[in-house]
C-alpha cells in the first residue's frame, strides 16, 4: 500500500521529505551522468519506469483472504539499473499515482518514497549482490531480492504508520501489530514479486546479458 494523504502528521511528513528528496536528487544527477556515458540505457530505463508504475498500481487479489495489494517493482528496477535510478523511477510513479489515482498522497509522498523507492530498491539490490557473491544463481538471487525488497517496503511502511499513529502505545508494539496485519496479504504478493523479478532478470540475462551490467554500474 501507499500511505494515503492525511494519515501522517505534517511535521513527520516534512521530515520524511528530507531524505526522500536527497535520494531522488542524487539519483537524478547520477542518471543524467549515466545517460551521457551510456545512452543505450534509455529503453531499459523507459521499460523499468513503465513497469514500476504499472506493478505498484495494480491491485492483485489474494485468494481466500478477500484483500488486494500490489507488488513494488522497485526491486527489479534496482537489480537492472542500480538502486539510485530505481529510486528515481519509483518516486515519479508515486507522484503520478498520488495525483491521478487516489493512491498515496502528496504530503505522504516523502514517506512513500522512503518505503517503496528507497527501501525496496536498496534492500533488494543488497540482497541480490550478496546472493550473487555467495554463489547463488542469477534467478534465485533475483527472486530473493524481489521477496525481501517487497517485505522491507511493507516493514518500513508499518514503521511509518506506527510512528504517526501509535497514540499512547509503544511505537515498537504498534509497528509489530501493523506489520503482522500486512503479512497475510503481502507474503503471497512478495512471492509473486519474487517469481516475476526472477523471470524478467533471467530472461534478460539469457537474451541481452550486456544489459545486466547496469546492475554493477554506480549511479
Amino acid at each position: 500500500m501507499h500511505i494515503p494523504e492525511g494519515l501522517i502528521p505534517a511535521q513527520q511528513a516534512a521530515a520524511w521529505y528530507v531524505p526522500a528528496v536527497s535520494f531522488v536528487g542524487v539519483g537524478l544527477v547520477g542518471l543524467k551522468r549515466r545517460l551521457v556515458v551510456k545512452p543505450e540505457l534509455r529503453p531499459l530505463i523507459g521499460l523499468m519506469g513503465a513497469f514500476v508504475f504499472l506493478i505498484s498500481l495494480i491491485p492483485l487479489p489474494v485468494p481466500g483472504l478477500g484483500t488486494v495489494s500490489h507488488p513494488c517493482g522497485t526491486p527489479m528496477a534496482a537489480i537492472l539499473l542500480g538502486p539510485f535510478t530505481a529510486t528515481v523511477l519509483g518516486s515519479v510513479a508515486l507522484f503520478l499515482q498520488s495525483l491521478f489515482f487516489a493512491h498515496g498522497g502528496i504530503t505522504s509522498w516523502g514517506a512513500n518514497v522512503i518505503a517503496m523507492a528507497v527501501g525496496g530498491s536498496f534492500s533488494a539490490y543488497g540482497v541480490f549482490r550478496v546472493s550473487r557473491r555467495a554463489g547463488l544463481g542469477i534467478g534465485v538471487a533475483a527472486g530473493m531480492a524481489g521477496l525481501i525488497g517487497d517485505l522491507v517496503t511493507y516493514g518500513i511502511t508499518s514503521f511509518q504508520l506506527a510512528l504517526a499513529l501509535h497514540g499512547d502505545e509503544a511505537v515498537l508494539n504498534v509497528w509489530g501489530a501493523a506489520f503482522a496485519s500486512f503479512l497475510p496479504t503481502q507474503v503471497p504478493l512478495a512471492i509473486a514479486e519474487a517469481l516475476f523479478t526472477a523471470g524478467v532478470v533471467v530472461f534478460i540475462a539469457n537474451q541481452r546479458a550486456e544489459l545486466l551490467e547496469g546492475a554493477v554500474v554506480r549511479p
Binding site: G6, A50, L57, P63, T67, Q207
Partner: protein, 98 residues
C-alpha cells in the same frame, strides 16, 4: 522444431496457471475485494488515533473519473512498456532482417 513446441507448451502452461489462479480466486472467495490492504492495516490504526484520510486535490477523483484515469494510465504505461520491450528485444524475425 522441438524447442519451439516446448516453448509454446511452456507459454500455454504459464497462461493457464495464471488464469486458473484468478478464476479460483473469484470462485472460492466470498469477499468482493472491496478493500486495499490499507483497510486491514492502516485504517484501524488511523481510527484508533482519530485521524482520517483526506483528499490530495481540492476536488475529488472517484467513480468513473477514477476508472478513466486507471484505464488511461494503464494503457499509456502498457504501451510504453511494450514499445521499450520491443526496442530491447526485437524478436527473431526483426533480428534476422537487421
Amino acid at each position: 522444431m522441438g524447442v519451439e513446441s516446448g516453448a509454446a507448451v511452456k507459454r500455454w502452461v504459464l497462461i493457464l496457471l495464471v488464469a486458473g489462479i484468478f478464476v479460483a480466486a473469484v470462485l472460492f472467495t466470498d469477499s468482493r475485494w472491496d478493500g486495499d490492504v490499507t483497510e486491514g492495516a492502516a485504517t484501524p490504526l488511523a481510527e484508533k488515533a482519530g485521524v482520517e484520510e483526506s483528499e490530495v486535490l481540492p476536488w475529488k477523483i472517484d467513480g468513473d473519473l477514477l476508472l478513466f484515469f486507471f484505464l488511461s494510465g494503464g494503457a499509456v504505461a502498457g504501451f510504453a512498456a511494450g514499445y521499450y520491450w520491443r526496442t530491447l528485444f526485437p524478436g527473431s524475425k526483426s533480428r534476422e532482417t537487421m
